[in-house]
């Protein structure tokens, strides 16, 4: 299959995305892909569209990260945040996009040592995971999560390991 961009070289980078039932396919050769990335400033391309969608919304407050000095424009053009605080400063630009960029906006995986051992943290995480399973009509998984939630409610948190439900 030929590259979508140059129509000359063999495409070796294939991306297929499905969002809200709409499927988009991109087939690029490595050279055109590199060109595209450098033109869009790294992963920034993903976020420059955001600029159009959400531009101006957080101009009044949080246009500059108070901790590392990254500006909203800088983030939108590069796609990179400068510190953990940026996720709060640019939340209105990042969060609406997470459902499309990612498989949701709630972390369901591993947690660092301390947090993992608190049942309250696991309970909240599983509740979010349960909602996702029900939304996806994955009832088998939902039943497993329910069982674990029940165990946590009964104070029996020792049977299953974190993140393995």
């Amino acid at each position: 299959m030929l590259c979508d961009a140059c129509k000359k070289r063999e495409a070796t980078y294939h991306t297929i995305k499905q969002y809200n039932g709409i499927k988009t396919e991109t087939h690029l050769c490595s050279e055109c892909r590199r060109k595209l990335i450098s033109e869009s400033g790294g992963a920034g391309g993903l976020f420059s569209e955001l600029s159009a969608l959400f531009g101006g919304q957080e101009k009044a407050a949080g246009a500059v990260c108070p901790k590392c000095g990254t500006t909203r424009e800088e983030f939108l053009s590069t796609g990179f945040v400068g510190c953990e605080q940026c996720y709060k400063a640019f939340a209105s630009a990042i969060e609406p996009r997470l459902d499309r960029l990612q498989s949701g906006s709630v972390h369901t995986g591993k947690r660092p040592g301390k947090a993992a051992s608190t049942p309250a943290g696991e309970y909240e995480r599983l509740k979010a995971e349960l909602k996702r399973a029900v939304d996806a009509e994955d009832y088998e998984r939902a039943a497993k999560i329910n069982l674990r939630l029940k165990q946590l409610r009964n104070g029996d948190g020792s049977e299953e390991k974190e993140g393995r439900v």
């Binding site: 996009r97 960029l101 990612q102 660092p112």
Partner: protein, 337 residues
């Protein structure tokens, strides 16, 4: 899937992206903060690891680390980057690249669970002493929002000659959309599809658990290898004589040439692997062919010999001699029909 398809999985890689709580991310930090992170993380690893300061590495040594996939090319451009590599070279921890910490495990063959178990243990070990930037809802906080959540990328390197030759790769890849999986050529630098090596990896990191990512990648690998197996049958049924001829010529040249460039070697070795699959060539150990390929890439070759980096001709002569010698005990032709 036929057992012999297992030889088409070169390696499995797990990468976890982490940052240190309270520190600006690498793009925004200064040299002393970077040094502090390198020191702190390296101390958690204990013995059995070697720390390389990228700035102090020579071109050959740095290039060899890239060829072995122990570091990314991007790390070379990071002024404050360093890497800790385990003695057996299965684990590497890149420091101050895009994120403060990139924990990586590479194992030969299809071993997602084993690789993740090692990465998970490494992560726990570092996490005991280093507090990670973490948010209850967004998970591990990374420099790019595309790595949020688990910060995990699981990749499997696959050898897909028949899907490439029959031009069926795109349609096989097209069906992967539902898996949130990306498929890309490994040797992409101006010589697309060279070596027929591709990397299958997960796209999304947030809203999925590590186990779900491993399952997704495993399912995608199975799907692609099933398609590759069908394509190999089709290829032999429709273009048998041409394919056999190409394989035997590749073996003939690789086993007898006086000069071999790196690209030529990658091409010939890939046809030798295909020859082993079709039973045209008897290869004692397929993994040895992959090792030979990595060892004979320019920087690997220079670092293990006296050949100067600048002398491409001498490199090609050395490579051909080394390959002739290695193939002697490793590959032999079967009786042709």
């Amino acid at each position: 899937m036929n057992e012999s398809m297992n030889a088409s999985v070169a390696s499995t890689r797990i990468r976890l992206a982490r940052n240190v709580k309270g520190m600006p991310f690498p793009r925004k930090m200064n040299a002393s903060q970077a040094r502090e992170i390198s020191r702190k993380v390296y101390e958690t690893l204990g013995s059995g690891y070697k720390l390389y300061d990228i700035k102090r590495l020579g071109e050959t040594e740095a290039g060899a680390l890239v060829e072995k996939h122990l570091i990314s090319k991007e790390l070379l451009a990071c002024g404050c980057g360093s890497v800790a590599v385990s003695d057996d070279e299965t684990i590497s921890v890149m420091l101050n690249e895009e994120d403060h910490i990139r924990e990586q495990v590479i194992l030969a063959g299809l071993k997602p669970d084993e690789a993740y178990t090692l990465a998970d243990a490494l992560d726990d070990r570092i996490g005991e002493k280093v507090e990670f930037a973490f948010d209850g809802r967004l998970g591990y906080l990374t420099a790019c929002p595309t790595n949020l959540g688990t910060g995990m990328r699981a990749s499997v390197m696959l050898f897909l000659p028949a899907l490439t030759i029959t031009d069926a790769l795109a349609s096989a890849a097209g069906q992967l959309g539902m898996y949130n999986i990306t498929l890309r050529g490994v040797y992409g630098e101006g010589s697309d599809a060279l070596g027929f090596m591709y990397q299958v990896s997960n796209q999304r990191t947030l809203g999925v658990t590590e186990r779900e990512i491993l399952e997704l990648v495993r399912a995608a690998v199975k799907h692609i290898l099933d398609a590759e197996e069908r394509a190999r049958d089709f290829l032999m049924a429709t273009r048998g004589p041409e394919v056999k001829d190409e394989i035997m010529r590749a073996y003939g040249v690789a086993a007898n040439a006086y000069k071999l460039s790196g690209d030529e070697l990658i091409k010939y070795l890939s046809f030798i692997k295909l020859g082993a699959y079709y039973g045209l060539l008897d290869v004692k150990r397929i993994a040895k062919l992959d090792e030979l390929e990595t060892a004979m890439l320019p920087y690997g070759l220079v670092s293990s010999s006296d050949v100067p980096l600048a002398d491409a001709d001498e490199r090609d002569v050395y490579r051909a001699a080394y390959v002739r010698e290695t193939l002697k005990g490793l590959v032999s032709p079967c009786a042709l029909k």
